[in-house]
């Protein structure tokens, strides 16, 4: 069966290609994501996770080739739904109208939009909040709206860039479980970027561990924990702890390297947050 997302030899450099002064963010990344697979990408800060996701989304041009459902990616498209870390909701639109944005772009007739948008708001547990503006919603609710918005135009794949990183711990766990439920319900392929080890293990079927900049694939770890993980106590199980330890060992060296990169010469100051990733990793371990 053809992969849902096929990333072939993708490299990306910022500022002047391979010329001196240019910055190599992704170095020859190849990766296949299966139909309906939940795949997490894990790596230290600044290793190019967001870059890879943006390239797949068609928002950033890069060398190499990407196929989504066998179709070559040449730009953004409604076959891919993107969820960003900072919600990126349109503040002048109500929750319902935010969810309807992609439907408008898809040229769905007006009279069908509201019902369809409502269906997805309900799916993320926000029935009754249609008329709220983003300013009237909590962070967790905003991210629910953003997820509903990305689902509403029925894309083949969902691309998520640290969607829960800005949320508090409880909200994050609730949303992780909700996301698994939605994934099982819709059968979408999900490419999920994170730098939290626990999150990657809990959610994904496979975890791709990336190296420090320039981002390469270091290893792909199969997460053979039982399904459904919803409502079960996998997080505190022994296999979970073993996986966490194994991935942490893969990652530890890279985080150190990333920190070193960040503290030495960074052409774009302030973009790398090596310290944050190191903190996150340390937290996951203790």
């Amino acid at each position: 069966m053809q992969p849902s997302i096929d990333i072939r030899n993708v490299s990306k450099s910022y500022g002047g290609g391979t010329a001196p002064g240019g910055l190599l963010a992704l170095d020859d990344v190849s990766l296949q994501v299966g139909q309906g697979e939940f795949l997490a990408i894990l790596g230290p800060s600044g290793c190019g996770k967001s870059t890879l996701l943006h390239v797949v989304a068609g928002l950033t041009p890069a060398r190499g080739e990407i196929l989504v459902q066998g179709k070559k990616v040449t730009g953004p498209g409604l076959d891919r739904g993107v969820v960003f870390q900072d919600y990126a909701l349109f503040p002048w639109r109500t929750a319902l109208d935010n969810v309807a944005f992609g439907l408008e772009m898809k040229k769905v007739p007006r009279h069908l939009r509201a019902a369809s948008a409502y269906k997805y708001l309900k799916m993320v547990g926000l029935a009754g909040f249609e008329d709220r503006y983003p300013a009237q919603l909590s962070g967790g609710m905003k991210q629910r709206v953003a997820i509903a918005r990305a689902l509403a135009f029925d894309p083949e794949v969902l691309l998520m860039d640290e969607p829960f990183a800005a949320l508090d711990a409880q909200t994050r766990e609730i949303l992780q479980t909700e996301l698994l439920r939605i994934w099982e319900q819709t059968g979408k392929t999900i490419l999920f970027v994170t730098h939290a080890i626990d999150e990657a293990i809990y959610l994904a079927q496979r975890v791709v561990v990336m190296t420090a900049r320039p981002g390469r694939i270091k290893q792909i770890v199969d997460i053979d924990l039982p399904w459904p993980r919803v409502d079960s106590d996998v997080r505190s199980s022994r296999p979970f702890a073993l996986l966490r330890h194994r991935i942490w060992e893969l990652l530890a060296g890279e985080v150190e390297k990333a920190q070193h990169l960040a503290s030495s010469r960074d052409p774009v100051p302030g973009r790398s947050r090596g310290g944050v990733a190191a903190d996150a990793v340390a937290q996951e371990v203790v």
């Binding site: 989304a57 068609g58 928002l59 730009g75 953004p76 498209g77 409604l78 891919r80 739904g81 993107v82 960003f84 900072d86 990126a88 909701l89 349109f90 503040p91 002048w92 639109r93 944005f101 992609g102 408008e104 772009m105 709220r132 503006y133 983003p134 300013a135 009237q136 135009f153």
Partner: protein, 251 residues
């Protein structure tokens, strides 16, 4: 509550001074008639319909000048906010133009456009176009790139991206510019009606002074201030209604 009390007592105190000082002769009542006399004159002007006639003429000029400012300032600001090269090219002349006060240019306008309606509208235009232009430029330029990226990811681009994202995101800044522009328009109104006018609130102020109807002059000044404040309030409420989502916090 205490704030309100304080504000009311300060206002009453000032009014009492305005009433008292001319009465006890500390200020020449010919130059500053007591407040009550001005109020009586104001009432008279209002009842006779004369005040409204002048107000209407002024409003007409302001609306026309402001409309031209919006028609020029908003599109130009959108261009400048969207294209860096365009903005950089025009930045010098525009910065210089902004520094030249409308009043200083009035003689020039009269030279070119005569002493009729046209130069009055032009001076109002000149005063009000700058805040509209600058606010629109900044509003368009500072649209959150996150929103643009999010819309692009759903394959919005070109005119659609502009209409559905850039414009609504810049709308609050544009509204503020228009409100400021209206305030500036009121400020230059008296100057605009200084020459070649036979009606308007600014004309009423100047004319009353010339024929030494001093209570009328003060009544016209009070009317002008109230009118300007009223228009500002109106625009403010329109702005709030159009951008409810901004203060949607709470609830």
């Amino acid at each position: 509550m205490r704030g309100l009390l304080l504000r009311v007592s300060v206002a009453l105190g000032l009014l009492a001074l305005w009433e008292g000082l001319p009465r006890i002769g500390l200020v020449n009542p010919n130059f500053l008639p007591p407040a009550s006399e001005v109020a009586r004159t104001l009432w008279k002007l209002l009842v006779s319909g004369e005040l409204l006639r002048h107000a209407w003429v002024s409003l007409d000029r302001i609306l026309l000048g402001l409309a031209v400012s919006i028609l020029v300032g908003v599109p130009l600001g959108i261009f400048m906010g969207s294209w860096k090269t365009f903005e950089r090219t025009l930045d010098g002349p525009l910065q210089a133009g902004r520094q030249v006060s409308a009043i200083a240019l009035f003689p020039v306008f009269i030279l070119f456009f005569g002493i009729g309606e046209l130069s009055k509208v032009v001076i109002i235009f000149w005063a009000s176009v700058w805040p509209i232009l600058l606010n629109t430029t900044i509003g368009v330029k500072t649209v959150d790139p996150v929103l643009i990226r999010s819309a692009r990811s759903m394959s919005a681009r070109g005119a659609t991206l502009f209409r559905k994202v850039v414009l609504p995101a810049a709308a609050p800044a544009i509204f503020t510019g228009i409100r400021l522009g209206a305030a500036y328009a009121f400020m230059v109104l008296v100057a605009a009606e200084m020459i070649g006018a036979n009606a308007g609130l600014g004309f009423l102020v100047l004319n009353s002074q010339e024929v030494f109807k001093i209570p009328e002059m003060y009544a016209a000044i009070v009317a002008l201030a109230t009118f300007g404040l009223g228009v500002n309030k109106l625009l403010y409420h329109l702005e709030r209604r159009a951008t409810v989502w901004r203060e949607a916090g709470g609830t």
